[in-house]
């Protein structure tokens, strides 16, 4: 029986406290309802605004990104074109240079060939001339030793008769 009394007293105590709690909550709800609502409403609005701004920033960034991306693509294609054009020009120029170099090389080769031929001919004629000059010098020395007074007189008479004949035929 005492146990039943304890439970009843406990239930009473609990219900009293529960009532007090409910009253307290009701009072709190009554007084704080608008504040809390407006607080959360403001917070919600603020967050929503921030989200909108963030969205705007994201959109602007997206646009800027798109624009930059387009520009980059354009620059990239231009660079590619330029690179191709440079490659083409370089290739053409290189070919031109190689052709010119080949032409010049051929010309130098031909010229060198001609020069070698001319120089060899020149050397040959120089050698021939020096041989002839030596032969003539030897002949001069031989003649100088062999010319006597009689031979000299013979030469003079023969030459003068030649001159005489020429003079007669001219007159």
């Amino acid at each position: 029986m005492s146990e039943e009394i304890n439970i009843a007293s406990q239930l009473k105590f609990a219900s009293q406290h529960l009532f007090n709690l409910i009253v307290f909550i009701g009072i709190l709800y009554y007084f704080l309802k608008d504040i809390v609502v407006s607080f959360f409403s403001n917070r919600s609005k603020k967050i929503s605004r921030e989200i909108q701004e963030a969205n705007k920033v994201i959109e602007a960034s997206q646009e800027a990104y798109n624009s930059s991306s387009q520009k980059i693509n354009l620059i990239d294609s231009e660079l590619t074109e330029l690179r191709n054009s440079i490659d083409l020009i370089t290739s053409r120029k290189t070919n031109d240079i190689i052709d010119n170099a080949n032409l010049v090389a051929n010309k130098i080769k031909n010229d060198t060939h001609d020069i070698i031929q001319l120089e060899s001919l020149k050397l040959q004629s120089e050698v021939e001339n020096s041989i002839l000059n030596k032969a003539i010098e030897v002949a001069q020395d031989e003649i100088a030793t062999e010319v006597t007074n009689d031979k000299d007189s013979e030469l003079i008479i023969s030459f003068l008769s030649e001159v005489k004949q020429n003079a007669v035929s001219n007159s």
């Binding site: 001069q140 000299d152 030469l155 030459f159 030649e162 001159v163 005489k164 003079a167």
Partner: protein, 180 residues
């Protein structure tokens, strides 16, 4: 205004002395003057240079050409007319003209030896046969011609020397062809 030339004075000189003896004297005088002029450097410089007065030049000429009055006069006149340079530049031409008037031929003979009188007489007689007796002969010795003779007859040159013949060989190459 036209002025007188050396040739004008020369014509006057030759017409004034038209006889052969006088022309001979003029020729001897002028050729002596030319010889002295060619060989004596100081006289040459004095006569050519304008800084010397005419009187000095005339004195020099009187000393050089003392035998022939006409030649001296001629030279003095051309100095007076400032024509000595022109005469000297053409001296060989005027001497040649005089020789032509005299029927004289100037021959310079070059041989290896001028000591052999017999040879010189032989040359002289041969030259007289060709160009006549009236020759102005001069002999010059040159051993480098090796042999034979070289003649300078007025403007003509006759080379009968061995050196000349050898020089002709230089025109031929080793194959015996003439070099172009």
């Amino acid at each position: 205004m036209p002025s007188a030339t050396v040739n004008d004075f020369f014509i006057a000189l030759t017409s004034e002395n038209s006889s052969k003896e006088n022309l001979e004297k003029v020729y001897i005088g002028l050729s002596h003057f030319v010889d002295v002029f060619n060989n004596d450097k100081s006289i040459r410089l004095c006569l050519i240079n304008d800084i010397y007065p005419s009187s000095v030049k005339n004195d020099l000429i009187a000393q050089i050409v003392s035998d022939c009055q006409s030649t001296r006069k001629f030279l003095e006149v051309i100095i007076e007319f400032n024509l000595l340079k022109s005469f000297i530049e053409s001296r060989e031409f005027f001497l040649k003209k005089l020789r032509k008037l005299l029927g004289k031929v100037k021959i310079e003979v070059i041989t290896i030896n001028t000591d052999e009188n017999q040879k010189l007489d032989l040359i002289k007689s041969n030259l007289e046969e060709i160009w006549g007796k009236n020759l102005e002969l001069s002999f010059k010795e040159d051993s480098t011609i090796l042999g034979g003779i070289i003649l300078q007859v007025e403007d003509k040159y006759f080379d009968g020397s061995l050196l000349g013949k050898i020089s002709e060989l230089k025109k031929i190459n080793l194959k015996g062809e003439f070099n172009v």
